[in-house]
Symmetry: C2
Subunit: 255 residues, 2 copies
């Protein structure tokens, strides 16, 4: 029997420590092909490149057995290129990450990491996005590893419901705060309160940096934010059907 | 009483005929402020600008009474800048479009037009994305106008359920094929079958253009695709909670 084919993608760029760790883990599960952005693509959401050309070059980053391609476009472009141009069979699994930083709650809709997983699901591939709640380049990806292995094993074995991918966030480990396990959750109702940092360029013209503060409005016990606060790995099933089905009957009475 | 404050945004750029038409319609409903990308941002999905600076300049495009700002970033950046930096009160309505081309079914997740509306909903603003099924620059936006007016009036009067915005698509009118009315729908299950157009640059290096064919797998009578085929305006309520709630109990048994 052929080994499972595993597509690895991310949004921090093909050289980021998070994806290098994920590649090394995936070698134990199957044949690994990496198709990832050549540089950082954080916050790209479900963007695709339609008004510009795409480059996709075979590269060698380390001495691992994977095949790798660096793409000039977005994480979603990477999945589309992999499935339609690079691979000769459909992957058995698509994993995205490990993202440097949280993709919990509302971050899921801004995240290139998670959009790549959603795109994988759209292509009918069981797909998982992994993120670690640590932005630093030298973040410690080791304690989450056993949970990544457990979730990967389960998805390869049992698949996922149609149209659903997984958003997995791993808490940052501190001394005396070990990860307690996995919680299946819903996306917390939270938002960013933006503040724009207004500056002047050397010519006196105004420009802005987007900054903001994350605010969780959700007091529910079944949210990803709560799980992470309590030092669990959060696992949220995510879908690409974004119809607000509950609102259909309300609106039917108006139109 | 103050006139309603209406924020207008799009993804085709501030000079596109679609947004100019939408601005002219909105003058009948309130005070209009336009914050839109300086150039085309189609396919940007929910992308935000976090690794680069943003420009936001006051501009005059025509002799209408609106105030206008052209932004160097994405449609979602425009909404964030409008709400947090430009406007001194929360808008009563956010309208996005009129998009040149369809944002029905799966297009909703790639669409900058719809992501701007979703961002409006996140900010607690009743928000609507309007799209016309005609890509051409000189598309005829006139027959859809009465439906845009009807939907706008309703949303200003009754609001929208919390966390929900509207994805409105308008069929292209042909001779003997007038619009029949509005149908409240769900997002059809459809997808793009991509084909990458592979070319060589003048230096012999390979590059790609993303192209594809839209395929509707959904035979349901309650989808946006069906409504549009039958020459109705489709209206899909859209939400930013993308949790696949139905999958939670399935996954709970596995982890």
């Amino acid at each position: 029997m052929k080994k499972p084919l595993i597509l690895v993608v991310n949004d921090d760029g093909i050289s980021a420590p998070g994806i290098r760790k994920l590649i090394s883990i995936m070698h134990d599960f199957g044949e690994v092909v990496v198709v990832a952005p050549e540089g950082p693509q954080s916050g790209m959401g479900h963007a695709i490149t339609i008004n510009a050309t795409l480059r996709c070059d075979k590269v060698t980053i380390d001495d691992g057995e994977q095949t790798e391609y660096a793409v000039s476009g977005t994480p979603v472009d990477c999945v589309k290129l992999a499935v339609n141009q690079i691979l000769d069979r459909k992957p058995n699994l698509c994993v995205s990450g490990i993202n440097h930083g949280s993709n919990s709650s509302i971050n899921v809709i801004y995240s290139g990491t998670m959009s790549a997983a959603v795109e994988g699901a759209l292509e009918g591939i069981p797909s998982i996005g992994f993120s670690l709640l640590d932005f630093s380049h030298d973040a410690d990806f080791s304690e989450g590893e056993k949970y990544i292995r457990k979730i990967t094993q389960s998805v390869l074995e049992y698949g996922l419901p149609e149209g659903v991918c997984l958003n997995v966030n791993i808490p940052k480990t501190k001394e005396n705060k070990k990860i307690k396990g996995i919680k299946v959750c819903r996306q917390a109702k939270a938002n960013w309160e933006e503040e724009f940092d207004e500056r002047k360029d050397p010519n006196g013209r105004t420009y802005y940096w987007l900054t903001g503060k994350f605010v969780n409005y959700d007091k529910g016990d079944d949210t990803d934010e709560r799980a992470l606060e309590n030092h669990f790995v959060s696992l949220v099933p995510v879908q690409y059907d974004i119809t607000a089905h509950h609102a259909i009957s309300i609106l039917n009475n108006r139109f």
